[in-house]
Amino acid sequence: MTLSLKTESVRPALRVGPVSLVLRPIMVLVVAALAAAMLLLFCLDIATGESHIPLGRVIDVLTGGGTRAQRFIVLDSRLPRALTALVVGAALGLAGAITQSILHNPLAAPDMLGITAGASFGAVTVLVIGGGSGLAATLGGPLAALAGGLLTAAAIYLLAWGRSPTGDRGVTGMRLVLIGVGMNALLLSGISWLLTRASLQDAQRAQLWLNGSLNNADRSGLLPAAFALAVVVVVALGSARTLAALRLGADTTRSLGVRIQTQQAILIGAAVVGSSVATAVVGPVSFVALAAPQIARRVLRTPGEPLIGSALIGAILVVGADVASRSVFPADLPVGIVTAAFGGPFLLYLLVRMNRKATLS
């Protein structure tokens, strides 16, 4: 009797350098469908505005055709906004997926950990002190936001460093989340206080920014956002295996030969850069980092928060919200209000459905 290996039951794998992914046909199909939906929304985003451009014409211009006037409207005035929405959404989705995976907590998104609040605090400080106009507002705001996000994250990480219950030194997830929640409350209260100190006009301007507005999105913000997204993507995909291992718990991960603290620090760093830059560019777009990984997990039916799926869903949420804010609502609402208005009830619906299923089985 010959020994036969059942090779057909082994799933095909994709290997690129250190990255290897197990391919499941259904998952590939779903991801492709998500990407297609994202691209469609992206074109729709460019099509909507004061003058509506037919979808076919948009695709025509994007692939190199169209008249000069059309090329101007599409490429110079609308494309940066749509691209910013896409990049910001993807960055937030990825950042959320990374933090939620590492900390084993679906609530551990950058908005809950105070990183977004830190970025907002920085920007609002400049707005209130600098009077919201001139160089301080155009350049200082985003820089202060970036600095605020990074400083907050560094503070949380350093404060969470210490001896874990098992005795080794490092950062434990639960402590990090708790300290993050503490920082978040502190910073949010600080923002509220700053708003009481500002003139009503500045408070209004700050309030608009605090809701994540794409109205001022242009090329100047797009480049840093795209760069940040690239960093997050590279780090995240390079560490996909670590993330999967971390899901099994600290001891198992260590026995698999992963240097937990270093890997955690790198991954969290990438998530912080991603969400801080996204906040610096358009303001805090609430709920995307929190909801996208959870939605992606359920759509793709994966045990943990999928990276690519979360990025796609994040982009879909923000781009879709931008389309909705300009076509459905009477007033030009900030995109962050729309993401929360749709994301909140959707997560609630998912929860209810999940509970129903759990009791049926």
Partner: protein, 348 residues
């Protein structure tokens, strides 16, 4: 050797010490301010006010000091005391029912619900003072609480801690966005709202206190009734059911108490972060996990903390003052972080 008797005696004496401390803080809160008053003046003014036939807040005019005490400091101190007490107890209840050490009224959407309906009523009806929008804020907290607990309990009434907090986050994000949309549409609403949302006991009329007091009193009563059941629930749903606890009824009781306490407190002074989160952890250090002790302790510590924060807020930023919500965050956050770092957290 620690027997059950010594543990009980220690808990009781701890409560007595804390209550004495609370009374001292009340006196300090009446004495300290933009114009500081001597203990003797405070005593006279309080004594005159309390023995006044028309009640402490509607006495005929006396000296300037008496005016300050009666018109400003007394209502403010009373408001801080009762809302701190309510928020502390609400925090203990929420953490108990969700079995989540991170849960508080803010996380479960109650604050956001109160803020949304308050802002909406300011926008729709042009309200400017708390007495006008207080009822809307209260209703908002109630509705948000019902939605959060309802959504997480759909299907068999088994609300898992995780789904409860997730539902809270979803509802909070939604309501905050709606609130922001309202205040963006209307600058006047923003102007009123931004002073309410920091959380302050200053400049609130004594009428506000009387309006929320019945709700708070009823809430405290429900909390005390709920505490033995909460002890059994903390053993896990299965064990509790086995011991004859009607879990659905117990949860409904808890929800009613939580909504009453945090809804009324939020309506009166604005959303106050941190108190409900920190206080039960502090109380648990002394009492351990027994809710029959934890709830009174949380109430006393909550009142104490809110008063102290309010007093410090009056002193540090003279001649102006820092709102108590800001103070609590500024004092509470470093304290909370130090606490998280030092102790191995009591798991629920």
């Amino acid at each position: 050797m620690t027997t059950l008797g010594t543990v009980r005696r220690r808990r009781l004496s701890g409560l007595v010490v804390l209550t004495a401390l609370l009374l001292l803080t009340v006196l300090a809160s009446i004495a300290i301010g933009t114009r500081s008053l001597s203990p003797g003046t405070v005593y006279d003014a309080v004594h005159n006010a309390v023995t006044c036939p028309g009640g402490p807040f509607s006495c005929p005019a006396g000296s300037t000091a008496e005016e300050i005490v009666r018109g400003l400091r007394l209502p403010r101190t009373a408001l801080a005391l009762v809302t701190g007490l309510a928020l502390g107890i609400a925090g203990a209840l929420i953490q108990g029912y969700t079995r989540n050490p991170l849960a508080d009224a803010g996380l479960l959407g109650l604050n956001a619900g109160a803020a949304f309906l308050a802002a909406l009523s300011i926008y729709l009806f042009g309200f400017t003072s708390p007495e006008q929008y207080i009822w809307f804020a209260f209703a908002g907290a109630l509705i948000a609480g019902l939605v959060v607990f309802g959504a997480s309990a759909v299907g068999g009434g088994k609300a898992s801690p995780l789904s409860l907090v997730l539902a809270g986050a979803a509802v909070t994000a939604f309501l905050q966005a709606m609130t922001n949309a309202v205040v963006l549409l209307d600058p006047t609403a923003l102007d009123t709202y931004r002073f309410w949302v920091v959380g302050s006991v200053a400049g609130r009329d004594a009428a506000v206190l009387w309006q929320v007091l019945p709700f708070l009193a009823f809430g405290v009563l429900l909390a005390l009734v709920a505490s033995p059941g909460l002890n059994l629930l903390s053993l896990g749903d299965e064990v509790a059911r086995g011991l004859g606890v009607n879990i659905g009824r117990s949860r409904a009781l808890g929800l009613a108490a939580i909504v009453l306490l945090s809804g009324a407190a939020t309506a009166a002074v604005g959303p106050i972060a941190f108190l409900g989160l920190v206080v039960p952890h502090l109380a648990r250090v002394i009492t351990g996990p027994d809710y029959r002790w934890l709830i009174p302790y949380s109430g006393v510590i909550g009142g104490l903390l809110l008063l102290v924060a309010d007093i410090i807020g009056r002193v540090v930023a003279r001649p102006g003052e820092l709102q108590v919500g800001v103070m609590l965050a500024a004092v509470g956050a470093p304290f909370f972080i130090a606490f998280v770092r030092r102790r191995k957290l009591v798991s629920l």
